[in-house]
Amino acid sequence: MRGSVLYDVPGPRARARNRVLSVVGLLLVAGLAWLVYSRFDAHGQWDGAKWKPFVQASTWTTFILPGLRSALTAAGIAIVLALAFGVIFAVGRLSAHRWLRWPSGVVVEFFRGIPLLILIFFASYGAPFVLHRDVPALWAVVFGLTLYNGSVLAEAFRAGILALPRGQTEAAYAVGLRKGQVMRLILVPQAARAMLPVIVSQLVVLVKDTALGYIIAYPELLAQVNVISANFSNLVQAAIVVGAVYIVVNLALGQLARLLERRFAPGRLSRATVAAQDAVIASTMGRAG
């Protein structure tokens, strides 16, 4: 056991106590598991016919994988657009011109402060009245995801740029670069590299939020639960399997983010990464960092 702030390396008495606590903990967990098991049993949820579809390849190829692909498509398009949105508004918010800084700030604060579902509903139900044409569910989802995550990334980007060592800016000015050049050639590329882990972690949020598409009938992964259970009347099982798919995909993305953090943000860049991560944590607050 590594050193912890909370307790010392256990001695004989502490070890004995920990063993007792282990047994108690094990009993509690087992009790919880039994509760779930018996509830499932009472409602016939262990019936083999309900689980069998998930060991058949056709269930995966006709329902789950296409659903996953739709979810990843929405997340993929949205992350690219959100990145562009994020860079533009981060640079806008760092601008020396007040007429650029203020509107950028207002836009970012606005989209961070309202629920994603409100944005998606606006695009899906409201926009057709304004545009006089239907908005496909995919684009309603992408619209919401882009504006919300773009605003979060804008704040992360801004924090990342601000956390770069001052010497970078000073040296750039010293060799005669102009304001725009300093931002474009020196600061943004370095911040972008430091941002890579943050972007991938944000992808986890995006993938999870594509599930909101289910509410406006976008045929993503969660929507497949209904389709599967309509075929095999096994909603509980389908929800569990689909949940597991989400978890596996997101854990893999999280792992990738940690890997990138170690590889791409060593030394001086890591300060910018940490600042950007803090900005994401604080991003739902009224102000960053």
């Binding site: 056991m1 050193g3 912890s4 702030v5 909370l6 307790y7 256990p10 502490a14 920990n18 606590l21 282990s22 903990g25 094990l26 967990v29 509830r39 499932f40 009472a42 409602h43 949820q45 604060e109 606005f110 402060g113 309202i114 629920p115 994603l116 579902l117 409100i118 509903f121 606006f122 139900y125 409201g126 926009a127 009245f129 304004v130 986890v204 999870k208 939020d209 594509t210 599930a211 909101l212 289910y214 509410i215 969660l222 639960v225 909603l235 509980v236 929800a239 689909v242 949940g243 989400y246 978890i247 997101n250 854990l251 999280g254 944590i281 604080a282 739902t284 607050m285 009224g286 102000r287």
Partner: protein, 222 residues
């Protein structure tokens, strides 16, 4: 604008429902999350594994799926019924979903808070002879609580916005109210959207500023 004013009772009760969902789920999430955090930092492996598993499962599952499962899984298929009144039943199923989901984020915020404390603080405390209880009460918790204000406030604000997902299982909250208003008043779409957006900004921005101010006021300088 007119549509919002004409339906102000529905709009206000929708926002009131969001506040209620946030407050009740936030309270449950705080309790469950604190227990989970205690498990994750405990010296007992079984509890640590359970805590880690819980957090990994709920942090990586979409909230929409969690709430979907609370309704169609727990209620429809597994017969978990909280109230005979359908509205109350849906409300409490949403509270369950929001609580168990948010608890994993509370747990991580608390755990991160404990980890920001340098080990030297506890070692110094032990070396001057403080007991475990004194160490926790006088040294660790005061520092940990200050550093978790920002992340916890962030979780609270996210919860406020997430509460809209309760609308998917028939709770008459803001998002579904907005959808109905839009469908009935196609000529006032922008005003309706801005009205609801403003309502959320009124809820989330002051909360954020208050906790941001509080966090800076009590911050530990290192």
């Amino acid at each position: 604008m007119q549509a919002l004013l004409d339906n102000r009772d529905a709009v206000l009760s929708a926002f009131l429902l969001i506040i209620k969902l946030t407050a009740v789920s936030g309270l449950f999430a705080l309790v469950i999350g604190t227990l989970l955090a205690a498990m994750r930092v405990s010296p007992v492996p079984v509890l640590r594994v359970f805590g880690t598993g819980y957090v990994n499962v709920f942090r990586n599952t979409p909230l929409t799926l969690v709430i979907f499962f609370c309704y169609f899984g727990l209620f429809t298929n597994l017969g978990v019924r909280i109230s005979d009144d359908l509205n109350r039943n849906n409300y409490w199923l949403s509270v369950i979903g929001l609580s168990v989901y948010t608890a994993s984020f509370v747990c991580e915020a608390l755990r991160a808070g404990i980890q920001t404390i340098p080990v030297g603080q506890a070692e110094a405390a032990r070396s001057i002879g403080l007991t475990f209880g004194q160490n926790l009460r006088l040294i660790i918790l005061p520092q940990a609580l200050r550093s978790v204000i920002t992340p916890l406030a962030s979780v609270l604000i996210a919860l406020t916005k997430n509460a809209t997902i309760a609308g998917t299982i028939g709770v008459a909250e803001t998002a579904s109210t907005m959808r109905d208003l839009i469908n009935d008043n196609g000529d006032q779409v922008i005003a309706i959207f801005l009205g609801f957006a403003l309502g959320f900004l009124v809820l989330t921005l002051p909360t954020g500023y208050f906790f941001g101010w509080l966090a800076r006021k009590v911050a530990v300088l290192r």
